[in-house]
């Protein structure tokens, strides 16, 4: 790595410094927009005791499900974990500590963490089990819950295009949690479909400025589809 050139050539380099018991953020919604290669490399590294912050937990044989299967995750912070049998089994047996967090609150916790805001009030979850033990306050006649922000040791992000300086563009709904997570890692590692030279991305179109990004690696992705839905053929005719 030299100066502002953040491109690394190997996954070893990309995840250098990631050790047991660290907190990681992993982008993606379901299997859409997940940093596949970085996850696969964590499986290979065998790091364990991880706290993983991600909207979902992958499926049994793809995404974060791979880390769960190897029992590398000790605590999972997520909003929805429905598609993963390994996860269910580890949660029910008490092996895995799960902190379910409303999706919008999770997104905002990460955004706030990256923006240097330690906590915020939200109406989401007031009067529900989510608010148990949390400070609440009435503001202008409405009740709010105080939620702490989140940061991480490593944020693992998937982008569509990156330049060598770490400016990022995401694609369609593969953006999801990736832009906020990019801001909230002590070390932010980006796995991009394409890496170009500075100046090749229009500055007007950059979603994540390079200041947030520490390492960039180029990868090709399987992009597995969780629910393959197509129009019925009679609707095509319509």
């Amino acid at each position: 790595m030299a100066g502002l050139n953040k491109v690394v050539q190997s996954y070893e380099e990309a995840l250098q410094g990631l050790t047991n018991d660290m907190t990681i953020m992993v982008g993606g919604f379901g299997l859409c927009g997940i940093p596949e290669g970085l996850i696969n490399h964590m499986v290979k590294m065998g790091v364990s005791g991880l706290t993983a912050i991600s909207n979902n937990a992958g499926v049994d044989d793809f995404g974060l499900g791979l880390l769960l299967k190897q029992r590398q995750i000790a605590t999972m912070i997520a909003s929805y974990v429905g598609e993963n049998a390994t996860f269910e089994q580890q949660m029910l047996s008490g092996e895995l500590n799960v902190i379910l967090t409303p999706q919008g609150t999770l997104a905002e916790k990460i955004r706030a963490g990256g923006a240097g805001i330690p906590a915020f009030f939200t109406a989401t979850g007031y009067g529900t089990p989510i608010a148990d033990g949390k400070e609440t306050r009435e503001i202008k006649g409405r009740h709010y819950v105080l939620e702490d922000s989140l940061t991480s040791d490593f944020a693992l992000v998937r982008a569509w295009k990156a330049d060598t300086m770490g400016n990022l563009i995401f694609r369609k709904t593969a953006a999801n949690f990736n832009p906020m997570m990019a801001t909230a890692g002590k070390i932010t590692v980006v796995e991009a479909e394409e890496i170009v030279q500075p100046g090749e991305l229009d500055p007007n179109h950059i979603h994540t400025p390079g200041i947030y990004v520490d390492r960039v690696i180029q990868a090709s992705f399987e992009k597995r589809i969780e629910q393959r839905t197509v129009k019925p053929t009679d609707a095509v005719a319509k």
Binding site: G30, C32, G104, L106, E108, G127, M180, E226, Q227, T229
Partner: protein, 218 residues
């Protein structure tokens, strides 16, 4: 006759207005998209970062990077936009969505809703439901009026852990369309052929019945 899932969706769709931004939950709410009145411009918001959700793709146009909140592959209409989850929930929490339709296990006369957790059963998570009910002003809950054993799901007080407290104002069931206010369900319309007595017998929470209860019109 109780409404079918499709009829329920069809009746909810009548509550749309031209120019609305709408968030539809998973299940019956998703079906509402099939009944948007013709000539009406409505933009569907998908919480994973899409405003302007279109129909399912063809085999040729399918794109792994373009899914909805149910993780199904979808398309984007002309005029659509993509954004982060934080931006998506700024829209939702900030009250910018005109109509939200979502399902529930139970609702009560205080407008509280339980939809995400059955103790003793597997907990899958609340996803975006808590944010949706906290942020939206105009919410329609779609649900079955009673369970298969005939036990009412419209209660004096929710028994399951809440998704939101005091936030639901309208409920559309397979039997009736109701408003929640002043600590009671107020019967607005009944499904064609369903008697007020049947609705009353299947509503455990306080039900206010006006002198005339029209049948739903499709």
């Amino acid at each position: 006759m109780a409404l079918s899932r499709e009829q329920l969706a069809q009746r909810v769709a009548q509550e749309m207005q031209d120019g609305f931004y709408v968030n539809l939950g998973i299940g019956i709410p998703t079906l509402v998209a099939n009944y948007i009145p013709q000539g009406m411009s409505v933009m569907l918001q998908s919480e994973n970062g899409l405003l302007g959700m279109g129909e399912f793709p063809t085999e040729e146009t399918i794109d792994a990077d373009l899914i909805n909140a149910g993780k199904q592959t979808v398309t984007a209409v002309d005029g659509a936009s993509f954004f982060s989850s934080a931006e998506s929930f700024a829209m939702i929490r900030g009250g910018h969505v005109d109509l939200t339709v979502l399902g529930a296990f139970e609702v009560d006369v205080n407008g509280s809703i339980a939809s995400w957790m059955i103790p003793g059963k597997l907990i899958k998570g609340m996803g975006g439901a808590m944010d949706l009910v906290a942020g939206a002003d105009n919410i329609i809950v779609t649900m079955m009026h009673a369970d298969k054993k005939g036990n009412s799901k419209l209660l004096p007080l929710c028994e399951l852990p809440l998704t939101g407290y005091g936030c639901i104002k309208r409920v559309m069931t397979d039997l009736a369309f109701m408003e929640i206010k002043d600590g009671a369900f107020h019967l607005l319309e009944r499904a064609p052929g369903v008697s007020v007595e049947e609705i009353q017998s299947k509503t455990a929470g306080k039900l206010v019945v006006p002198e005339h209860v029209p049948e739903m019109v499709f």
